[in-house]
């Protein structure tokens, strides 16, 4: 009897549509594009600010266009998705054990959310809101 193993091929372009968990993974990965684009907008804003008051005001006006608002809402949604999905897997990557007791995952996740709130509050305080 001769062996003739059959090798199945996997689509390189549509594999991620096969299961909901792959789609969720791709959504997390795609979030980096929107977050990267948002970072570019912030850098452009800083450049405009360095060019003087008129340039800065015109930059702020351009942010109020419908396209800009939709972009910012999308970027915010993906940034939140990215952040929360990573926070939720931190106990897997950074488990903490004290003696024979493992720190519950909820505590590690909670600490990340608490850190998030603290840093946000600090930034809001620094910018005077």
């Amino acid at each position: 009897m001769s062996r003739k193993p059959y090798v199945r091929t996997t689509s390189t372009s549509s594999w991620w549509l096969a299961q909901p968990r792959y789609i969720r993974y791709m959504a997390r990965e795609v979030s980096c594009i929107l977050i990267g684009a948002y970072s570019a907008v912030v850098v452009i804003g800083l450049l405009r600010l360095s060019e003087g008051a008129a340039a800065w005001i015109s930059f702020l006006e351009s942010l109020q266009s419908p396209v800009s608002i939709v972009f910012h809402l999308l970027a915010l949604a993906f940034a939140l998705y990215h952040t929360t999905t990573w926070f939720n897997v931190t106990p897997k990557a950074m488990p903490l054990q004290f003696g024979q007791t493992q720190l519950p995952g909820g505590v590690i996740i909670g600490a990340h959310y608490a850190g998030w709130v603290l840093v946000s509050a600090l930034i809001l305080y620094l910018v005077g809101i």
Partner: protein, 246 residues
């Protein structure tokens, strides 16, 4: 007990006669407490003796009966028919070549498993008469979860990285390397790093997490790989600062 009939669509492949696999349909009368493996055994015993598949313990310990059940990698002995629709599609584990019917070729996994040295590498080998290596319950707890792997390879069938990168060492082998690296009796971490911390080791993983979702023993290989990434990164910076340590 109520009897129900399910339709099994089983992917068949005979290397001696077939150019490619094709589905064959079997109607199976089943009991409420049956798992998918019971239905496949019914086919083998009553409908078609040519069907080939692997199984042994029927209790989620041996890791032999993994297959794709409605597109999801699962142990057929642990998947109840009552949780599935009337039509059930059964295929060999994804990402492995098909040897025959539901039997896959596991050579690639076995080779990779060997490469990570999944065994104890103690500082000094002790003769049996000199007693056992001592370990506290707290030291055992650090890695016990990763000892539960039954080498069923469901994690390889779920992993899109393994599907697209043949060289990827893969979830189970990396989780077992982590298991020995965490063991207080073991000093083999450096010896495993060449394979584990290579581009085709932990760094090929992009944390899809599917391996941990499908693991029947809750080993969490995805977690093991992320922990190894952190440890390897710390190693890298330690080596930069103190090139001649150990």
């Amino acid at each position: 007990m109520n009897e129900r009939q399910v339709e099994l669509e089983i992917l068949r492949y005979d290397p001696e006669t077939d150019q490619q696999p094709s589905f064959q349909i079997y109607l199976v009368p089943c009991q409420e407490d049956w798992v998918v493996l019971d239905a496949i055994n019914y086919v083998k015993d009553n409908l078609d003796r040519t069907l080939s598949y692997r199984w042994s313990c029927h209790m989620a310990v041996c890791g032999s009966c993994g297959m794709m059940i409605n597109g999801e990698p699962a142990l057929s002995c642990k998947t109840f028919l009552r949780d599935l629709p009337e039509t059930i599609r059964i295929e060999p584990l994804a990402n492995f070549p098909i040897e025959r019917d539901l039997v896959v070729v596991m050579d690639d996994f076995m080779n990779k498993l060997g490469k990570v040295k999944p065994y104890l590498l103690p500082r000094e080998k002790k003769a049996v008469e000199n007693g056992s290596y001592l370990q506290s319950p707290a030291q055992l707890k650090k890695f016990r979860q990763y000892t539960l792997c039954i080498n069923c390879t469901l994690c390889y069938a779920a992993c899109p990285q393994y599907a697209h990168n043949e060289g990827f060492v893969g979830p189970a082998a990396l989780a077992l390397a982590h298991r020995y690296n965490l063991d207080s009796r073991d000093v083999g971490r450096r010896a495993r790093q060449d394979v584990v911390a290579s581009n085709e080791g932990i760094w090929e993983c992009s944390f899809v997490g599917a391996c941990s979702d499908v693991c029947p023993e809750h080993v969490d290989p995805a977690g093991a790989i992320q922990q190894t990434k952190i440890a390897s990164t710390i190693d890298y910076f330690k080596d930069l600062i103190l090139p001649r340590r150990d």
